[in-house]
């Protein structure tokens, strides 16, 4: 196996139950460096749970998740949150920006949390806002901007730390199709430029069409088209 095709994330037989509900019931998937993978499936099928398990936010009941060859469940909580800060970026449907901070401060925050000084952090944040075509709102707070602008700020914040994987859960879910596609285009262009992989949860086919391939989750089981078993 060459370095280029080595899996970045490898999930095998992942199970997670909430009480009597099996949210994930044997999910398998492979994510490789730099690819954009859409996770699709009906509401309640386990897409968000799968994304949270892959990102080390939720601990599965059983099964394995390896990130660059390391088993997530073998890490301590501290190691996992350090990994999330250094290697992962996140975009959710809404409610992810800190309302008290300006857009610029929001985007700079991941860098600040990993120890970058304020000046260079804000300089990089400004570059990302520029790239996502929202430099004009950098001094505004999240309550003063539109949903589409907010999602672009969120994409900038997810990418500012140069992550290897961006986890996006319905990032365009609250936007109309025009703005949704603009966000998708900016997100996938930026990920392509930086070489980040994107795990994109969506139930919208036109959004999934920005991916390289799709994984279908149904009743907590995932079908990875990459894995012909």
């Amino acid at each position: 196996m060459t370095a280029a095709t080595e899996p970045l994330l490898l999930a095998t037989a992942v199970r997670k139950a909430y009480g009597p509900t099996a949210a994930l019931d044997g999910a398998d998937l492979t994510i490789r460096a730099g690819e954009v993978v859409a996770v699709m499936g009906p509401s309640g099928s386990g897409k968000s749970t799968l994304l949270h398990c892959l990102a080390g936010i939720v601990r599965p009941d059983s099964g394995e998740i390896q990130y660059r060859g390391r088993e997530l469940s073998a890490m301590s909580d501290g190691e996992r949150s350090a990994l999330r800060r250094s290697d992962f970026g996140f975009v959710f449907q809404f409610g992810q920006l800190v309302p008290e901070l300006t857009c610029l401060e929001n985007v700079a925050m991941p860098l600040r949390l990993s120890g970058t000084k304020r000046r260079p952090a804000e300089r990089q944040a400004a570059e990302w806002l520029e790239r996502l075509e929202v430099a004009d709102i950098s001094g505004k707070r999240p309550g003063e901007i539109s949903g589409g602008q907010g999602q672009r700020v969120a994409v900038a914040r997810a990418l500012v730390g140069d992550p290897r994987v961006v986890f996006a859960d319905e990032p365009t879910g609250a936007l109309d199709s025009f703005n949704g596609e603009r966000v998708m285009r900016l997100l996938t262009d930026a990920a392509n430029d930086t070489g980040a992989a994107v795990v994109l949860v969506t139930h919208e086919a036109r959004v999934a069409a920005y991916s390289d391939r799709e994984i279908v989750v149904r009743d907590g089981k995932s079908r990875d088209t990459e894995r012909v078993s």
Partner: protein
């Protein structure tokens, strides 16, 4: 829609006379356009010639409507290949897709697999159109968007059908 494949698929559950085939076809798939007898017999003649069906018995009295047809092994393979092959995505193919889903259920094949491979085929074309849209001028974008919205509608139908397969299976095989 392929009438040959549909009639073949109906024969898979057991040999039938020509008039029985026509009646069953009309009930399940004919809707407002019933098959002409001539169409049934010319299709059967073609399927006989290519070895996909054989004559299983002839009732006394003669005439084509007296022939009883049975599917051959080659015919079963042909139905399997047709069902497994996703349709080229295009608007208004719902009637073909619906027929395939019902036939898969009637013949005990996986309708879920059929829907999954069709979804993959639709998404493949949607990706290609999305790439063209990214690189194109406004006219390209609008033309691609038109196609994309139609394909999205198809995909929603595939999703809904997948969610109601158990119910459909119960009705179809009742």
């Amino acid at each position: 829609m392929s009438i040959g494949h549909t009639l073949l698929g109906l024969l898979e559950s057991g040999p039938r006379h020509g008039y029985d085939l026509k009646r069953t076809f009309d009930e399940r798939f004919g809707h407002d356009r019933p098959l002409a007898y001539g169409q049934v017999y010319s299709t059967m003649a073609r399927l006989l010639k290519s070895g996909l069906v054989e004559v299983d018995g002839i009732e006394p009295g003669g005439g084509p409507e007296r022939k009883r047809y049975a599917i051959t092994d080659a015919g079963i393979t042909d139905v399997a290949t047709w069902l497994a092959q996703p349709e080229k995505p295009e608007p208004y193919l719902q009637t073909t897709l619906y027929t395939k889903v019902v036939l898969a259920l009637l013949t005990g094949r996986s309708a879920a697999d059929l829907l999954d491979s069709q979804r993959a085929e639709h998404l493949r074309l949607m990706r290609e159109l999305t790439r063209r849209k990214r690189d194109g001028d406004l006219a390209d974008q609008l033309i691609c968007d038109h196609a994309l919205f139609h394909l999205e509608a198809d995909l929603r139908w595939l999703e809904l059908t997948a969610a109601r397969l158990d119910q459909l299976a119960a009705e179809v095989t009742r």
